[in-house]
């Protein structure tokens, strides 16, 4: 818990939820309540099951509510045939989900931790991702959504902390989505569930309870493959997704004290990613920093940096920068050393701006 407080101290995740003034007025007319991220996920699952009778939610321990409580109340309300536990076998439950989705259902699979998604890797990469392409669109499993809690949590060690998103970003046919806050989580998860392509939805488990914001109670979706500028700035573009945005936000606040104006972008969908929004920002600021918890080598930050170096080379005023996890397994007691922390980011912001 010390780590957790250290990481998010004084943050209250302010600024992570932004919307235009008009949308804000419109929103204020509707019912909304302050909820945390796992409750927002839970709301999305309720709505998904309620709005389409051919929707199923299943995975290890989901019946009683799941180890993170995301599926609380679903089995009671929608029955044990639509919300159920499966045997402890990730390749089985993703494979089962593909078959269910191929029959025109929406199959929402919960992988208990992203660290345990690897037994299902073949099913996701060779089956789900290629199902439409290899059949010439005679068949698809677009109704498949794979949810998995990812990332650091302060005490997770090797097998409860990993951020495996880059593996899946290398797979044409998949969409990979990571929300930063409760409101985003609800809208993006519903978008994934209804998107006619297989999606992998990584939930920042550190924020399950910690992130609280007002979430509209009604059914809404947020667009996929659309990044969002969540903080306007002129000196440097910062890119992140999921829980890392909260750390980036802290760095932005600190940098501002030194007179550096940071533009912070939430990528939200990693593939297919919104290159246009990132390019537009870098053309304005001339500098780019990408940050993620996953190890730096071969991380998705590498793809963003290479793409922007290609397309914005003449506008760049400093080398593109990455502040990421180390190239080690995720280490328990060394977590504070491993992590791309606020001050690591701040130092890199300064070095890049003063290059």
């Amino acid at each position: 818990m010390t780590n957790l407080l250290w990481r998010f101290r004084g943050l209250a995740l302010r600024g992570l939820c932004t919307s235009s003034a008009a949308a804000a007025v419109e929103e204020s007319k509707k019912s909304k309540a302050a909820v945390n991220l796992f409750s927002a996920i839970n709301q999305a699952l309720h709505i998904a099951l309620e709005s389409d009778p051919r929707t199923y939610v299943f995975g290890e321990d989901v019946s009683f509510g799941g180890v993170f409580r995301c599926t609380t109340g679903l089995a009671d309300r929608f029955g044990k045939h639509r919300v159920f536990n499966t045997p402890l076998c990730e390749q089985g439950l993703v494979g089962f989900g593909i078959g269910l989705a191929a029959m025109g259902n929406r199959a929402i699979v919960e992988i208990q931790f992203a660290d345990y998604i690897y037994p299902a890797f073949d099913q996701i990469v060779n089956e789900a991702a290629k199902f439409r392409y290899r059949s010439g669109s005679q068949f698809n499993c677009g109704g498949l959504t794979i949810r998995a809690p990812y990332g650091a949590v302060g005490h997770g060690g090797h097998y409860h902390s990993q951020s495996p998103e880059a593996f899946f970003c290398h797979v044409p046919g998949l969409k990979v989505v990571i929300p930063r806050s409760p409101r985003e989580a609800k809208g993006l998860l519903l978008a994934c569930i209804r998107d006619p392509n297989p999606t992998v939805f990584f939930e920042p488990k550190w924020l399950y309870r910690l992130a609280v914001e007002e979430v509209p109670e009604h059914d809404y979706v947020l667009p996929l493959s659309q990044a969002e500028v969540i903080r306007q700035g002129t000196d440097i573009t910062l890119i992140a997704w999921g829980a890392q945005l909260a750390v980036m936000e802290q760095a932005c606040v600190e940098a501002e004290k030194d007179g550096i104006s940071c533009e912070l972008i939430d990528l939200k969908t990693l593939i297919p990613w919104d290159k246009e929004t990132v390019e537009a920002s870098v053309r304005k600021t001339g500098k780019l920093l990408v940050s993620h918890e996953a190890p730096i080598t071969g991380g998705f930050g590498a793809e963003i940096c290479a793409s922007i170096a290609e397309s914005c080379f003449l506008r760049l005023e400093a080398p593109v920068a990455r502040v990421c996890g180390l190239d080690t397994p995720f280490p328990l007691v060394y977590e504070p050393f491993y992590m791309p922390t606020k001050n690591k980011i701040l130092d890199t912001i300064k070095a890049t701006v003063n290059y």
Binding site: G95, F96, I98, G99, D122, R134, S135, Q138, S225, K275
Partner: protein, 289 residues
């Protein structure tokens, strides 16, 4: 679906022309020329497109069967795999899921003794595949895979059980792979030629079935020769037609990755087309650009 079951597809009504269109990957191939030969698929005939990966289709069949059960359809799912495939994790996963979920699915294992060059003695130490059914809490039937009538009655009974009782069932068909694994394989390198000949001559299921229909007076040598000539003609004709048909257009390289092409694919297609214009000789002439 698995790549050794074109017979199922033929029986369901896939035409010789549809087969050859896939084999040549021409523009009428439903898979748009994207997969190797024999990776058939037909939405119309409920035959889910084949992938080369071993056993991955088995858990899909369980999910599909669960859907049929939930939709109260008078139907079951059926999936095929070989003896080698039963060593894969997906086989075990699927068997366990089917039993626990009570999914109406028929698992048909074609135990032909060989997974490419690996004999079953190096694949497992269980008494074949049938014994695994009870271990997972489902019934099994082992049948002589070279006896067409026995297979028919077995699958018929299994289907009744799967649908009426909404439960899975495992069928093990004992047979032998007299052919090579694929056109790139020479199986005499790892098994004696006389063993293959024995199965081909003495225990061939087609010969056996022919004897039975002949004995009943429903078939004779003239019928046989007429059918063979007719089918040979039709196959050759289908091949000739399929090989003359042009390949699918270049644009299809980029479709179906997603329901709509993503922006990066649009950009890649544009760049590729420029390259093709600059270096047309680098690319096959039968793919329309």
């Amino acid at each position: 679906m698995q790549y050794r079951e074109p017979g199922v597809l033929l029986w369901r009504g896939f035409t010789l022309q549809e087969f050859t269109n896939q084999l040549f990957g021409n523009k009428y191939d439903y898979g748009k020329g994207r997969q190797m030969p024999i990776h058939y698929g037909s939405n119309k005939l409920n035959y889910v497109t084949i992938s080369s990966t071993i056993a991955t289709q088995i858990p899909h069949a369980v999910g599909a069967a669960y859907s049929l059960k939930m939709d109260k359809k008078n139907a079951c799912a059926v999936t095929y795999f070989g003896d080698g495939g039963t060593s894969e994790g997906d086989f075990h996963a699927a068997m366990n899921f089917a039993a626990v979920m009570e999914a109406p699915v028929i698992f048909i294992c074609r135990n032909n003794g060989w997974a490419i060059s690996t004999p079953t003695s190096e694949q497992f130490r269980s008494d074949g595949i049938a014994v695994r059914g009870p271990a997972y809490g489902m019934r099994s039937i082992r049948v002589d895979g070279n006896d067409a009538l026995a297979i028919y009655s077995t699958v018929h009974a299994a289907r009744e059980m799967a649908i009426n009782e909404r439960r899975p069932i495992l069928i093990e068909t004992l047979t032998y792979r007299v052919g090579h694994h694929s056109t790139s394989d020479d199986s005499t390198k790892y098994r004696p030629a006389d063993e293959i000949e024995h199965w081909r001559k003495a225990r061939d299921p087609v010969t056996r079935f022919r004897k039975w229909v002949k004995k009943n007076g429903w078939w004779n040598d003239e019928d046989e020769s007429a059918l063979r000539n007719d089918v040979r003609k039709k196959v050759l004709n289908a091949i000739q037609v399929a090989e003359k048909v042009e390949k699918p257009p270049l644009a299809e390289l980029f479709t179906d990755v997603y329901d709509h092409p993503s922006s990066n694919l649009g950009e890649q297609e544009r760049l590729l087309r420029e390259t093709v214009k600059r270096h047309p000789k680098d690319y096959p002439i039968d793919v329309p650009v």
